[in-house]
């Protein structure tokens, strides 16, 4: 860890008692640099889905904060995350986004590495001094790489807890999305990628629990889509709906069928997969999924997921990486997943309808992005920074968790408050404090 960062003064952007967050948190370049060191170059960061690199030598190129990495399946079948930079003079080994490699060969001077990262040759090994041990000059591996339910995470701090422990109570909900059939999920296509001039945390907050934006931001697709607007039930949250937050700053929002909404439109289990769900999930998880209309959440810091109705009786699971580029810009990666066991036609429809709604040209996405970018732009000036953002609608609720929630974590009702968003901000604020 960087010495400057260790000694940076303690600073807080969140006023927990009054329900506000300073705007600087959403635009500041100093904040962004601290986020890199204290969050993105330290904690577990989601990188890829296991199904993207099925065979030995398959790789995808991703980013952790500012760190370019290769996510590769090694000759032993293990997934490794390697710094995408030659140990000699720093050139990228992989200059595309994906591929299959037998070795990683640097095209500058010819240093060559095995897919597990070990240095094979510098091309001029005969010129190396006797004290140089090639075993010390392999590609730099992320010290921690773990996969949970097909989701590949890595961390640069060797001291982070086990991924399963880090996910904590959120794992129960992730299981119900990503491991509800014996073979699990697969990414149906490469991720959509787009840049936007908005702070990355707006995406995380939007997914962890922002039911309040749906009516105003997404008036278009909701009014136009007969499945959603039927009997005007979409704006009404079913009485079972709730939000969940965990100690690690993860959270999700579960919105249930409203009274009067046609149940047939919101089949809990896709046709043909009903039996598999029952075999894999617990009775409690099955009960949690029953009549669930939308489940949307975030794993701290920047991995989001949404399961949403995409067509009559069909659902898609979309996952996201909100990749910060600066204090005021991010790149978004967005995948559509379906159960491996699903029929080909179902997967095809899940993919198309998934990105019709939530892709690089998504009918939901386009309206979010325009508003997020305008929020970042309008906040990025000294006058606006004097006036904090409001998270007030969390305060009347966040000290009263439910007693009989459907799942683990601290659950709250109603589901359309800002409890989960403010919990994320408090966790973020704590993560930004200097290390002990």
């Amino acid at each position: 860890m960087d010495d400057i960062v260790r000694s940076a003064p303690s600073r807080s952007w969140v006023d927990a008692a009054n329900g506000t967050v300073e705007r600087e948190a959403f635009v500041g370049e100093d904040v962004f640099r601290l986020e890199l060191d204290r969050i993105f170059h330290r904690l577990w960061i989601f990188l890829a889905h296991d199904s993207e690199i099925p065979d030995r030598g398959d790789y995808v190129v991703r980013t952790m904060g500012r760190v370019p990495v290769i996510v590769v399946r090694g000759s032993d079948g293990e997934v490794r995350v390697l710094l995408n930079s030659c140990r000699h003079r720093g050139t990228k080994l992989c200059r595309g986004e994906a591929g299959n490699a037998r070795n990683f060969v640097c095209r500058y001077h010819g240093w060559s590495y095995a897919i597990d990262g070990g240095l094979i040759t510098t091309s001029y090994d005969e010129h190396l001094p006797p004290g140089m041990d090639k075993a010390d000059w392999g590609l730099v591996p992320a010290p921690r790489v773990e996969t949970y339910r097909g989701l590949i995470f890595a961390a640069w701090d060797p001291g982070v807890p086990e991924l399963r422990d880090y996910l904590g109570d959120m794992a129960w909900y992730l299981d119900a999305l990503f491991w509800r059939t014996p073979e699990g999920m697969e990414a149906l296509a490469p991720p959509h990628r787009w840049r936007t001039r908005a702070n990355w945390k707006i995406g995380a907050l939007n997914f962890i629990g922002d039911s309040q934006h749906v009516r105003t931001t997404h008036a278009g697709p909701i009014a136009l889509d007969k499945v959603r607007s039927e009997k005007d039930g979409f704006y009404v949250q079913g009485g079972e709906s709730f939000q969940v937050v965990t100690d690690e700053g993860h959270g999700c929002t579960l919105t249930y069928l409203a009274p009067g909404m046609p149940e047939r439109n919101y089949l809990t289990h896709p046709p043909g997969l009903r039996g598999a769900y029952a075999d894999t999930l617990s009775a409690d998880q099955l009960a949690m999924l029953r009549h669930l209309r939308v489940m949307v959440g975030n794993v701290f810091p920047n991995f989001s997921f949404i399961e949403s109705q995409v067509a009559l009786g069909e659902k898609a699971v979309i996952i996201r990486q909100w990749q910060p580029l600066s204090g005021t810009e991010m790149e978004v990666l967005s995948w559509v997943l379906a159960e491996r066991e699903a029929a080909a036609g179902y997967k095809d429809r899940a993919l198309k309808h998934g990105f019709h709604n939530f892709g690089a040209a998504g009918v939901f996405e386009q309206d979010d992005l325009e508003l997020w970018a305008s929020a970042t732009q309008a906040s990025d000036n000294p006058i606006a920074r004097r006036f904090p953002y409001s998270f007030h609608s969390s305060l009347p609720f966040d000290h009263a968790p439910m007693e009989n929630a459907k799942g683990p974590g601290r659950a709250f009702q109603p589901s359309n408050t800002e409890v989960a968003q403010f919990a994320f901000m408090r966790r973020w604020d704590a993560a930004m404090r200097p290390l002990a």
Binding site: R195, P221, F355
Partner: protein, 173 residues
């Protein structure tokens, strides 16, 4: 996917008919006249836009769809961006200017009459942003005589983009 292998020549009259259709279409889209634009499509229209995964030349490029619509979902998309009450991305409207060039026309097998290959460049300005954006790509349209006129039955736009810029694609290409 649809690499052209030697464009079969068609008559000048056919070429001009196709060119008029595509020019008229571009003008309607730049004017945001989506109702008139939709009338240029067949009722079973397919509309696909792809982006590209950058991969080593030895592996070959990989295109993947970012839009894949049939007539029903395309209508939803256009109704949204065409109605000021239903869109945030397109209200205020973005300004666009479409350049459709390098036209090549070939005779296509039934049921389509022609395949038209064009280069597409779209300039787009959003709000008061001082810098506009460009979308560039290669377009392949299958055209069919339907209800008395030549109409677009199947469009494939292969964008020359890996990562899209400035938010989400909220226009028709």
């Amino acid at each position: 996917m649809d690499d052209e292998r030697g464009i079969a020549t068609v008559s000048d009259a056919a070429f001009l008919e196709v060119q008029r259709l595509l020019n008229r279409e571009a003008a309607l889209l730049d004017r945001r006249d989506y109702a008139a634009w939709f009338d240029l499509l067949t009722e079973d229209v397919k509309y696909v836009v792809t982006a590209r995964v950058s991969r080593p030349a030895e592996t070959g490029p990989l295109d993947y769809a970012i839009i894949d619509e049939d007539a029903d979902t395309l209508r939803l998309r256009v109704l949204q961006i065409g109605d000021p009450k239903l869109t945030r991305a397109e209200n205020p409207p973005t300004l666009t200017r479409r350049f459709v060039s390098n036209l090549e026309v070939e005779a296509a097998g039934p049921p389509n009459d022609y395949a038209a290959h064009t280069n597409l460049l779209v300039y787009r300005q959003r709000g008061t942003a001082p810098d506009g954006d460009f979308y560039a790509g290669r377009r392949r349209d299958l055209l069919r005589r339907d209800r008395g006129s030549l109409r677009i039955a199947d469009r494939l736009v292969r964008l020359d983009h890996n990562v899209l810029f400035d938010g989400s694609l909220s226009i028709v290409l």
